[in-house]
């Protein structure tokens, strides 16, 4: 997993509430057995017209936002289907962080498992951010994860954010969660499993 320390770039506003993972990654891109080529599918119906040409109205196709590395999003971003393809696609498109008031649970976990930082800020601060990133002149910023700050390049305004220590550490280290669990906890899992089986033998009646 890619490590997240201090990342600079432009941010694009996307204030719509309840943007679901069907919209982020539509069904026609879900037929693979690998993670390849998903950048093309991101916001497909919004980014491209029916003939496949870029829709000039869509924010990520507009001058000043095409290379956005961050999205400032509306509430409940990523709701709906568990499809991690949505996050793989965002990552392949170069998105490193999402900033919003709330994120859907599965999507939020998927982001953190793939090195995408999700930052939750109160609505008033998101409004301030949306206004700033709504112009190409004001949309550059730097996220410093160790310091837990977002600094606007144009006017120097800083936002502080909270993040759980464990998630922060995993993102900074770009940790492989499976190997961490196996290395640190395999014996504990075995011990737990023995007791769990004794307490609930019916859960294990299949073995």
């Amino acid at each position: 997993m890619q490590s997240f320390m201090r990342v600079s770039g432009r941010a694009a506003p996307m204030a719509t509430p309840n943007v679901d993972t069907d919209v982020i990654m539509p069904k026609q891109f879900l037929k693979g057995v690998d993670r390849k080529g998903l950048d093309r599918g991101v916001f497909f119906a919004l980014r491209f017209d029916p003939s496949g040409r870029p829709n000039p109205e869509f924010i990520l196709n507009r001058a000043g936002w095409e290379d956005a590395r961050f999205l400032v999003v509306g509430p409940n971003f990523g709701c709906g289907s568990s499809r991690e393809h949505a996050v793989w696609g965002l990552s392949q498109l170069g998105i490193r962080a999402l900033i919003g008031t709330s994120f859907a649970g599965i999507f939020n976990d998927n982001c953190h498992r793939n090195g995408i930082l999700t930052v939750t800020l109160p609505p008033s601060q998101i409004e301030g951010l949306l206004a700033r990133v709504g112009t190409p002149e004001g949309n550059a910023l730097t996220i410093d994860l160790p310091k837990q700050t977002i600094a606007m390049t144009a006017d120097g305004v800083k936002f502080s954010f909270e993040i759980e220590a464990l998630r922060k550490d995993a993102l900074i280290r770009g940790l492989d969660a499976v190997s961490a669990t196996l290395v640190e906890s395999a014996d504990l899992i075995r011990t737990f499993e023995t007791g769990h089986r004794a307490a609930n033998p019916w859960f294990f009646s299949d073995v």
């Binding site: 204030a15 719509t16 509430p17 309840n18 679901d20 069907d22 919209v23 539509p26 069904k27 879900l30 037929k31 693979g32 057995v33 690998d34 993670r35 119906a45 509306g74 509430p75 409940n76 709701c79 709906g80 289907s81 568990s82 499809r83 991690e84 996050v87 709330s102 994120f103 859907a104 649970g105 599965i106 999507f107 976990d109 998927n110 498992r113 759980e164 220590a165 464990l166 969660a177 499976v178 669990t181 196996l182 906890s185 504990l188 899992i189 011990t191 737990f192 499993e193 023995t194 007791g195 769990h196 004794a198 307490a199 609930n200 033998p201 019916w202 859960f203 009646s205 299949d206 073995v207």
Partner: protein, 506 residues
């Protein structure tokens, strides 16, 4: 059944009582909070904590069961293969083909496209190479994963079930905690039998009162979602309680628990009762003999303590609920059947107002028009939310002796192959076919349309499914969510209509 009362009194503080609950190295972490009254959710979580990772916020959680499907699992297996890892407990998993398969009446191994064929083939390779049981497309037990798992007796009260599908919340209906996970977490589960888990806040939704005739579990959960919003339960595990829930069948509870994810809930639970035991007893994977009796005792004692505090409480009167229909592109954009399409100018929040304007434009609807005047050209009965036998019976009751309106294509996709056979035994297939419905094989089908059951742009569908997102049933297609009986009523009327009219005629 013996009185559960003594067990509740006796076991509240003892359960969980085995050493495994607080693992050896964590004894110092056994804190006074364990003595506090606890919610059902917290009891289930506490009984599955392998170790705490981050104070009380995150833990390594033992997962009892997963169900894998062909479209969210392949990259997880690839990850295992790349790292040379095994599956920790293959017998705890079941693999079911459901998302990409065709549902044509004649079953074959043929897939609609190369992508689907590749996924199904790789799925079978993974089942074989990692030693996991597979219900493939020709298996008589095949079906939508959340219909199949309870049907097989694989889900039991007190279990934690995590699976690569958001509607895994369904298993709350059986007193288990179910929740959806992404593919990275599937891989973590497969390799370690655990997940890195963040404890949720708790919300209790108490539903009392007798639903009016024509009002179903689907209408109740749609009304809950309309009231609390599509993010109303984000960050929460929801426990459903109250006399309405107690009086609902286990299948009706599954409809509610499945769909509450559309309010953002990351888990749902309903305390197991005699109905749940009756549902599970005798199913293929259910415990038998003395183990069954022991299990029942433990399961019935697993409830929220009467003094337990929830982070949030909501209440609903079921007798206030009328049949519901979604008009927008988010499941909370819904109305009563007697209502009208709302006007965006009534919405004070700017972003939400813009979302409404966009939704109405996408849906091709005008503010103020009566919901029951909306003309449809497709009717779909299916999905993990509403394709169990009771749903098919409800719809058949409306369809008996009636015909699908001209210009409407109507299809019914039973939730599992077993549901399909049961329906055929009851003669429901004849009712659907005589009414002009296509009687199809099981799968996720047109609920998410990543198979060949897909709508064209502009098509408008009355649908017993759970999501009305843009493009959900096909790019540009328009979905109206409602109960199976309401879909049947719309199919024969040619437009969305109040199913209660038909009940008066029956």
């Amino acid at each position: 059944m013996r009185s559960t009362h003594e067990f509740i009194l006796r076991q509240h503080w003892e359960l969980p009582k085995v050493p495994s609950i607080v693992s050896g190295s964590e004894k110092e972490a056994k804190r006074p909070e364990m003595e506090k009254p606890r919610t059902l959710y917290d009891k289930i979580i506490d009984a599955h904590i392998v170790r705490r990772l981050d104070g009380d916020a995150q833990c390594l959680l033992y997962i009892d069961r997963t169900i894998l499907n062909e479209y969210t699992s392949p990259q997880a297996f690839s990850g295992l293969r790349d790292a040379g890892r095994n599956v920790w407990r293959p017998a705890a998993a079941l693999m079911v083909v459901d998302h990409v398969n065709p549902t044509a009446a004649q079953r074959t191994r043929e897939m609609p496209d190369a992508g689907a064929a590749g996924q199904v083939a790789y799925f079978a390779d993974n089942a074989r190479d990692f030693g996991i049981e597979l219900f493939d497309i020709l298996d008589p037990r095949q079906g939508v994963e959340h219909v199949v798992a309870p049907e097989q007796g694989l889900v039991m009260p007190g279990m934690v079930v995590a699976a690569g599908d958001s509607h895994t919340t369904a298993y709350g209906a059986l007193g288990a905690l179910g929740f959806g996970i992404g593919t990275s977490d599937i891989e973590h589960y497969l390799a370690t039998q655990t997940l890195v888990y963040r404890r949720l806040k708790t919300m209790r939704i108490t539903i009392d009162g007798a639903p009016l005739p024509g009002v179903t579990a689907k209408d109740i959960v749609m009304e809950v979602i309309r009231r609390i919003g599509a993010d109303g339960a984000t960050g929460y595990a929801v426990e459903f309680a109250g006399e309405t829930i107690a009086n609902l069948s286990v299948e009706g509870r599954m409809t509610i628990c499945t769909m509450i994810v559309e309010a953002g809930a990351r888990g749902a639970v309903i305390a197991a009762d005699q109905k749940v035991l009756d549902y599970i007893e005798g199913r293929p994977r259910a415990p038998k003999g003395q183990m069954w009796l022991d299990a029942c005792r433990a399961w019935l004692s697993l409830t929220s303590d009467s003094e337990a505090r929830f982070d949030r409480e909501e209440a609903l009167r079921a007798d206030d609920v009328v049949p519901m229909v979604s008009w927008g592109t988010s499941p909370d954009q819904a109305s009563t059947i007697t209502g009208r399409v709302p006007a965006p100018r009534g919405e004070p929040d700017g972003a939400r107002r813009n979302a409404m304007i966009r939704a109405l434009d996408y849906m091709g609807l005008v503010p103020g028009m009566a919901v029951d005047s909306i003309v449809i050209d497709h009717a779909f009965i299916g999905s993990c939310t509403n394709a169990r036998i009771e749903d098919l019976r409800d719809a058949a009751l409306i369809l008996r002796g009636r015909r699908v309106a001209e210009g409407v294509r109507a299809i019914v996709v039973p939730g599992s192959s077993q549901v399909r056979r049961q329906a055929e035994t009851e003669g429901l297939d004849r009712v659907f076919i005589d009414a002009g419905f296509e009687w199809r094989q099981s799968g996720c089908s047109m609920c998410l349309a990543m198979n060949d059951d897909i709508l064209k742009a502009g098509d408008r569908c009355a649908s017993s499914t759970n999501r009305n997102f843009e493009g959900r049933q096909g790019p540009g297609a328009r979905t109206h969510l409602m109960s199976p009986a309401m879909v049947a009523a719309a199919a024969v009327s040619g437009h969305i209509t109040d199913v209660r009219r038909f009940h008066e005629e029956v």
